[in-house]
C-alpha cells in the first residue's frame, strides 16, 4: 500500500472523484437518455404504438432509411477511393487533399443545407433552369440526399486513412509482383485487412445520416408525409405540442444511437483499437 500510494490518491479522494464523475455522467448523459423513454411512455403503450403507426411517422421512417441508404454507399465509395489514393500513393497536394476531406466537419449543418439552396433553390443559381424542366431538388428527395451526403462526407474516409496508413503497402506490392490485378488486390488483400475499420466508418456515417437534422431541415421544406425525415417529424410533433408522439418517434432515434454505441464498442473490441476523438 505504502509503495503504491506514491502514484495514486488515498482511497477517500479516489472514491470521491469516482462519485463525482459518475454523478456528472449520470445527470448529464444518462438522465436525458432515460427521459426520452420516460416521456414516450408517459401516456401508455397504446399512445406510443399509435404514434409510430401514423402515416406521417411511417413515411418519415421510410424517407430516413432511403436517404441514409443512398448517401452512406456514396460516401463509402468515396472513402475507399480517397483512402486508397492517399495511402498507396505519394503525390503533390496530398496534404492539402487530406485537410479538404476534413472540411465538412468545420461546416455548420445549416450551412451544409444552405449551399444546396443557393445552387438549386427557387432563387438559386440553377433554380430557374430546374423549374423550367420541372425538376425538384430543394424541398424534395434529391436535396435531402445531397444535404445528408455533405454532412456525412468524411466519416468513412477518416476511419480508413489512418488504418491503411498504419498497415502500409507491402502486401499489395507483393500481390502486384505475383501478377494480381488491381481489383483482386483490393478484394483479396486490402479489404480483409480493413473490414473492421470499414464497418466502423459505415456505422458512424449511418448514425449521422439517419439522425441529421440541421442540414436536412434547411432543404426539406417540412412537407408532412412527403419530405419529413424522422428527426424532422419529431420536431414538427414537438412544435405542435404532441409531446408523447414526438418522444415516441424520438425513442426510435435514441434506440439507433444505443445500437450504434453498442456495435461501436463491439467493433473496437474486435479490431483492438479505439478511434480518436473529433467526430
Amino acid at each position: 500500500m505504502a509503495n503504491q500510494s506514491v502514484t495514486t490518491e488515498s482511497p477517500l479522494v479516489r472514491w470521491l472523484l469516482i462519485l463525482a464523475a459518475v454523478g456528472v455522467l449520470t445527470l448529464f448523459l444518462l438522465l436525458p437518455l432515460f427521459a426520452v423513454f420516460a416521456e414516450a411512455f408517459r401516456r401508455g403503450w397504446e399512445v406510443f404504438l399509435e404514434s409510430l403507426h401514423e402515416d406521417a411517422a411511417l413515411s418519415a421512417i421510410k424517407l430516413t432509411l432511403l436517404a441514409a441508404g443512398v448517401s452512406v454507399p456514396m460516401n463509402l465509395l468515396f472513402g475507399l477511393s480517397a483512402a486508397w489514393l492517399v495511402t498507396k500513393f505519394r503525390f503533390r497536394g496530398r496534404a492539402f487533399l487530406l485537410s479538404l476531406i476534413d472540411l465538412p466537419f468545420a461546416v455548420s449543418p445549416v450551412i451544409a443545407g444552405l449551399v444546396w439552396v443557393i445552387l438549386f433553390g427557387a432563387r438559386g443559381w440553377f433554380g430557374p433552369w430546374l423549374a423550367e424542366h420541372d425538376i425538384k431538388v430543394i424541398f424534395a428527395l434529391p436535396g435531402i440526399i445531397l444535404a445528408t451526403v455533405f454532412v456525412t462526407f468524411p466519416f468513412v474516409a477518416r476511419e480508413l486513412i489512418p488504418l491503411m496508413e498504419s498497415q502500409g503497402s507491402d502486401q499489395e506490392e507483393a500481390a502486384v509482383t505475383l501478377g494480381a490485378n488491381g481489383w483482386s488486390i483490393f478484394w483479396r488483400v486490402t479489404l480483409p485487412n480493413i473490414k473492421w475499420g470499414l464497418l466502423y466508418g459505415v456505422l458512424l456515417c449511418n448514425a449521422r445520416a439517419m439522425g441529421e437534422f440541421g442540414a436536412v431541415s434547411v432543404v426539406s421544406g417540412h412537407i408532412r408525409g412527403k419530405t419529413n425525415t424522422l428527426p424532422l417529424h419529431v420536431e414538427v410533433l414537438y412544435n405542435e405540442y404532441q409531446f408523447s408522439a414526438a418522444f415516441a418517434c424520438a425513442t426510435l432515434l435514441a434506440f439507433l444511437a444505443l445500437v450504434t454505441l453498442g456495435l461501436k464498442s463491439l467493433l473496437e473490441h474486435f479490431s483492438g483499437q479505439k478511434s480518436g476523438g473529433g467526430h
Binding site: V6, T7, L17, I18, A20, A21, V24, L25, L29, L31, P32, A35, V36, A82, L85, K88, F89, R90, F91, R92, L100, I101, L103, P104, A106, S108, V110, I111, L114, V115, V117, I118, L119, G121, A122, V149, F150, F153, S169, E173, G182, I185, G211, F213, G214, P231, V234, E235, F247, A250, A254, L256, A257, L258, L261, S265, G276, G277, G278, H279
Partner: protein, 272 residues
C-alpha cells in the same frame, strides 16, 4: 515523384476522389462564397455588423466558449476517473461518453428542453432557487456543453493512457505531495490535449443547431444563435444575407480547423 507507381489505381482513385470532392463540397462552398461576395464588401460588412447578427454572434461565441470551458473541467474529471481507476460499470460509462455524438441532435434538443424547462426534472429544482435554465442563454449553454463534452474526453483519453508513471514516481521520490504532482507534473503534460479538446468542442458548438433551437427560445436580439439566423433569412428567401452570415461563420470555423490541425500535429508529435 520520379519513382514508378507499383500499385494500380492511381488514375481511377485520383479522378473519382477529386471529382466527388469538388461536386459535393468544393463547388457548393464556392457558390456560397461567390453569392456572399456578389454583394460587395461594404454590403457584406454592413450585414455582418447589423445589430441582430452581432447579438446572435455574441451569444453563439460566448455560450460556445463557456460550454467548451465547462466541458474541459468535466472532461478532465471524467477522463481521469475512466483512465486511472477501476470501478463497477466503468466500461458502460466509457461507452456512454459518446452518446452526444450518436444521439440525433433534435432528440437531444427536445429532451434537454423537457428536463431543464421550468416544470422539468432539473429545471423545476433550479426554478425553486430562482434559476431559469431554458428559453434563455443558460439553455443554449447547457445544450452546447452536452454536445461538446465528448470531444474533450476523447482527445484527453489517449494522452492520459499513454502517460507513463515514471515522472510521477520521480516527483514523489523528490518529496512532492500528490496535489503538487498533479498540478506541476501531470497537468502541464495535459495542456496541449486540453487546448485541442477545447477548440474541437468550441468549433462544433459554433455551428450547432438541432440541440439548441428547442431550448433557446429563439427571441430576436436575445436568444437567437447564428445558424438559426441563417434559417430565418432563408425563410424570407434572402439567400444573399444567409450566404453573408454563413461566410462569416465559415471564415471563423476554417481558422479554427487550421488551429486544430496545428495542435493535433503537436499532440501526435508529443505522443510519439
Amino acid at each position: 515523384m520520379s519513382k514508378r507507381r507499383v500499385i494500380p489505381g492511381y488514375g481511377l482513385t485520383m479522378g473519382f476522389s477529386v471529382a466527388y470532392l469538388s461536386l459535393i463540397i468544393l463547388i457548393p462552398l464556392a457558390a456560397l462564397f461567390l453569392t456572399a461576395a456578389g454583394l460587395g464588401i461594404a454590403e457584406w460588412w454592413s450585414i455582418l455588423t447589423s445589430p441582430r447578427v452581432l447579438a446572435a454572434a455574441r451569444l453563439t461565441f460566448g455560450a460556445s466558449a463557456a460550454a467548451a470551458g465547462v466541458s474541459v473541467v468535466f472532461g478532465m474529471l471524467v477522463t481521469w476517473v475512466l483512465v486511472r481507476y477501476r470501478f463497477p460499470g466503468k466500461r458502460l460509462l466509457d461507452a456512454m461518453v459518446d452518446l452526444p455524438f450518436a444521439l440525433p441532435t433534435a432528440v437531444a434538443g427536445i429532451t434537454l428542453t423537457q428536463i431543464y424547462a421550468p416544470n422539468g426534472w432539473i429545471g423545476g429544482y433550479l426554478a425553486s432557487f430562482g434559476i431559469k435554465a431554458a428559453y434563455n442563454s443558460v439553455g443554449v449553454f447547457i445544450a452546447l456543453t452536452f454536445i461538446g463534452f465528448p470531444f474533450v474526453v476523447r482527445t484527453l483519453q489517449p494522452v492520459m493512457e499513454d502517460m507513463g508513471k515514471e515522472v510521477e514516481e520521480a516527483a514523489a521520490t523528490l518529496g512532492a505531495g500528490r496535489w503538487t504532482v498533479f498540478w506541476r507534473v501531470i497537468f502541464p503534460l495535459l495542456v496541449p490535449a486540453l487546448i485541442t479538446g477545447f477548440t474541437l468542442a468550441f468549433a462544433r458548438a459554433i455551428g450547432e443547431y438541432g440541440s439548441v433551437i428547442f431550448i433557446s427560445g429563439n427571441l430576436p436580439m436575445k436568444t437567437e444563435i447564428l445558424p438559426l439566423l441563417i434559417v430565418v433569412q432563408l425563410e424570407q428567401f434572402k439567400y444573399e444575407a444567409a450566404a453573408v452570415i454563413a461566410s462569416g461563420m465559415l471564415i471563423v470555423s476554417f481558422a479554427l480547423l487550421f488551429l486544430i490541425n496545428l495542435l493535433q500535429r503537436r499532440l501526435d508529435w508529443q505522443n510519439r
